[in-house]
Subunit: 454 residues, 2 copies
Amino acid sequence: MSLTDSNAVDVARSASLASRQLATLSNEARNEALTLLHSALDKNRAIILAANKKDVELATQAAEDGTLNHSVLKRLDLSRPGKYDDMLEGILSVRDLEDPVGKITLRTLLDEGLTLERVSCPIGVLLIIFEARPEVIANIAALAIKSGNAAILKGGKESTGSFAAIANVVSDAIAGSQVPVSSIQLVKTRDAVSSLLAQDSFIDLVIPRGSNELVRHVKENTKIPVLGHADGLCSAYIHSDAKVQTAVKVIVDSKTDYPAACNALETLLVHESVLESILPEVASALLAKGVSLRCDQQSLEVLKKVVPADKASQISSATDTDYETEFLDLVLAIKTVSSAETAITHINTFHSGHTDIILTESSQEANRFMNGIDSAGVYWNASSRFADGMRYGFGTEVGISTNKIHSRGPVGLEGLTIYKYLIRGDGHVAADYHDGAGDGSTFTRSWNSKPSLT
Amino acid sequence: MSLTDSNAVDVARSASLASRQLATLSNEARNEALTLLHSALDKNRAIILAANKKDVELATQAAEDGTLNHSVLKRLDLSRPGKYDDMLEGILSVRDLEDPVGKITLRTLLDEGLTLERVSCPIGVLLIIFEARPEVIANIAALAIKSGNAAILKGGKESTGSFAAIANVVSDAIAGSQVPVSSIQLVKTRDAVSSLLAQDSFIDLVIPRGSNELVRHVKENTKIPVLGHADGLCSAYIHSDAKVQTAVKVIVDSKTDYPAACNALETLLVHESVLESILPEVASALLAKGVSLRCDQQSLEVLKKVVPADKASQISSATDTDYETEFLDLVLAIKTVSSAETAITHINTFHSGHTDIILTESSQEANRFMNGIDSAGVYWNASSRFADGMRYGFGTEVGISTNKIHSRGPVGLEGLTIYKYLIRGDGHVAADYHDGAGDGSTFTRSWNSKPSLT
């Protein structure tokens, strides 16, 4: 299913219609489509890998010419050991998760014979915009079908061949199931993004999967709600009573376990009273791991005294922008603060609302910090690297959201659902319950609403 | 606190800072502020009513000159019997609701000594834009404080005097509590709306309270998420096996109980097999209540035969736009459909996602309809007029949302909260749980995540 720029409306409208049919399918019917998808991708492995090989060859050439980043190459290559099998396995894992649709989260007996239920249901139509990784197609198709949502997928230009090959297999596989074919549409045309982002009457949620620049571009160019995060500027605060060994372990892991991840540490705040006791230990462990430290004046003076000459080049003065920078590299900004209060204010001002850490032995200080920090994740004596849907036990991850509404933090299948209210009555009418003033604000007949499930 | 257009940034920034402090207050501290607010508004009744009287006088003049709608007058007048007391009572009702903040909705033991909690918390900063009703100020201030959110309020020009008087009382009352004064800011400048709508880095949610035009204007002019509904185009479908008396009762109530409400019925779909049995009974009851019926050809032909001459003028041919119109008046569009399927497709195409009804004696048909309709509320044999936060048992109503994410349908205090994930550990690091491949997707150490609460 390719499209020209002008028929984004048709794609979005047909996805919207398909979504209504998809929403009525049973979990079994949705699971069956995933089983078919899995076997089709397994059977067509050779064709897909051949198409992917061509993409990789073109991209290798572009990387050699300097027109493409080398990291894209790695993400593009489906033939790396285990990658294709992981993709296949992922479809079955999603299939075997609990059905996120049809969960009753509130049931109230409003009156005799009149019941209110709040039931989880699919959101409708998702638009997923991603960059190089071709396995995202299988992953997103699985998540969408499992959660009863239609999905429009738009990939990056480097994966055009892989994308087309996978698209054909996905369409054929779904055609054999009860899931409407238009439920998963793969958009190949390059310029379609802006047209699709304009379809806010048909598309309910956009999920960009890729660089910060992609996420920012999407957020700035659509009225459709966007699920995701542009930045992951995680901070840690070492309180005056922190344990040295806990601080060292947690900060080294947060910074160095996977520096390019959104949940890696970028800013370290240190209480002034532990500048000479805890900071040198933490710094020494970080320097040993190759981390460069950008320090404010106070911390710089302390570290200059204790850091050995062969590591001195890894220490420098911080600029203001360092505290607003997601380095995604072995670099850490360090700042001295005079109180937990100052740390909280600094973090709430400069952070991205992703994940922040306090290191302290006091549960009172920890709770104050956890209440005061406005982030999706606030951790006490634990690494920021735990901010991950799999680690949270969600079974899958749609992405990590720094939004303040709907879903926040690692998002599982639940984030792809909303709810509807169902009322079942026997000819019940509102006129029986109010005084006739017309605004419905008062009830004359007794009203027994009793929430029973939440 | 007035502002010029240029310092919307200051208002929004100070609200954002205040919101962080407000988020850390206990339920008792927030409740105390509501008690103070209640008594201050009670004590200053005479001053506020005097200011309101002047607004009403100016508005009366404008209404006589034809520059203001008469309905605005009624909404503006705080001296109508019971109105001021209802406003005061509303503050105490909100105060006495269950605390929506700090609810633990998920708790997982990730590993020994490592716990994950999902805890409800305030969203942050709300921007409320409303039209004439001055009592909205007290209502919104109460909802915001109770839910721990800062609120910026912008009222309509007709209520300028009342607004200023109430604003002073609110500020003074809050100053005596632990709630930061900048938590509730009342913006008087007329042209501030567009500047405020641009503060998406500080404001987290906009709630427009007023006409459809206001809601549409807000939605089209901001990148901040908007909670609300522009239209309430509710539909009912009479299936072939519906009970006549149930259909008559539910449809008459849905249409006539309060025609100007967003949950009033606007479109009636009738299965062709009951055009001559059920429709005439329903039509006769509606006509007796003064409702005009705009009918498609099939239903018009049937009704022409049975409707008495003195009611003939209430029946006319429908145009296509009648099925997309929220009449908010004693007018109903009627259309014949050949199946439940057609009814579902019609509703999903033309409705606003507010509340829709099926009349049937078959639970199978009802369930199919309830699954297939993409609306905030889907009712079986019950009036659409039940779509209301008080009737749902929420104790209060922030508004009714037709959004597909975050909150849908009548929104209570819960809709003004989001959640954060808290992890408490003892120096736990991610490196202990994966194979070092760097992407964190696999774990070598056993991972005991067990969701225990949801």
